[in-house]
Symmetry: C2
């Protein structure tokens, strides 16, 4: 019988495609096996477990987004950079909803520390160099931006914004205006 040529790499990639097609929840070792026309047990030489598969898909998504973000930020600063970075997340989520959902998977601390997640934080910090914030406000701002990007995209993707007026593209661009204004004019703590 001919060999299918399975590798962890190929399985994870197939899992990611599956996630985008049918949703991350539906990604299962069995489904991936079916896609390669191979018996389920065969995958267990390449994957430790079902959770391992999901984790690897999450890591792939984080890397892909970080790569896109790095490219988007190159040569940009200030509001330009802010918009470019924000768009990376939003576009990625629209193009790859399953992968984006995977990236939301809660990783255990060691895995998270070794993931592309740290690159994301670094890039957001880099972006903030275009504004005038000193520690610890910079950290607060990193967290705020992360919250807005993640929150907005995940609500939009989940249908949280009813498809009513005004359209979400407009809200998105006004959100960028708002964030830019906020960063340029960061308030001092209240008494």
């Amino acid at each position: 019988m001919a060999r299918a040529g399975l590798t962890t790499e190929r399985l994870v990639r197939a899992g990611a495609e599956l996630a985008d097609e049918v949703g991350f929840e539906q990604v299962t070792v069995s489904a991936v096996a079916r896609r390669f026309d191979v018996k389920v047990a065969s995958l267990y030489s390449h994957l430790k477990s079902s959770h391992d598969l999901k984790t690897r898909i999450a890591l792939l998504a984080l890397e892909e987004m970080a790569d896109r973000a790095a490219e988007a930020l190159a040569g940009r600063a200030g509001k330009d950079a802010l918009i470019a970075l924000a768009n990376v997340y939003r576009d990625y989520a629209h193009e790859h909803p399953g992968r984006y959902a995977a990236a939301q998977l809660r990783l255990d601390p060691e895995t998270a520390a070794a993931s592309a997640g740290v690159r994301h934080a670094q890039m957001t910090r880099a972006l903030l160099r275009g504004y005038d914030l000193s520690e610890p406000d910079q950290t607060h701002a990193v967290r705020l931006l992360g919250s807005v990007f993640h929150g907005y995209v995940s609500l939009e993707l989940g249908g949280g914004f009813s498809h009513s007026a005004p359209d979400t593209q407009q809200t998105w661009s006004r959100t960028m205006d708002a964030l830019d204004a906020l960063l340029r004019n960061w308030p001092s703590p209240t008494p």
Copy 2:
């Protein structure tokens, strides 16, 4: 054999408790049946399916949060109200992580329209009456606040903010300052 006295209500409540204890992903019809010391099949007279159970837990969480929010907003306005509302979400998520995760479940449009989700939007709108925004900026602001609340809480809960300095409580209160400043000084669109 004595009867367990199952009702949909009690099953959903037990499922919610289970979610808080072991995580929403681990909530399963079987697990709930075990908790009542009853055979799995017995639950299917009260629940349509596993998905039905999860949906009902989500709806319960949305209601509980809306109730808390309504109480928190009573008699408050402006920044006071903003902080109170934001704290409702954050506190609820910390007290009931499983339920909070459930509330993130994607609901089909009709279910969503009949859920407490609409009350949340209404309350955020009510909060914004303390600021001076007119349509469509008010809608943009509703969405922005929703994004920040949801994004922040879900990142914090997922360990997205590494447990490093400064502590998240500080970031949270600076985030409130920032949102308040932003709403009081909402920027006009860029050309």
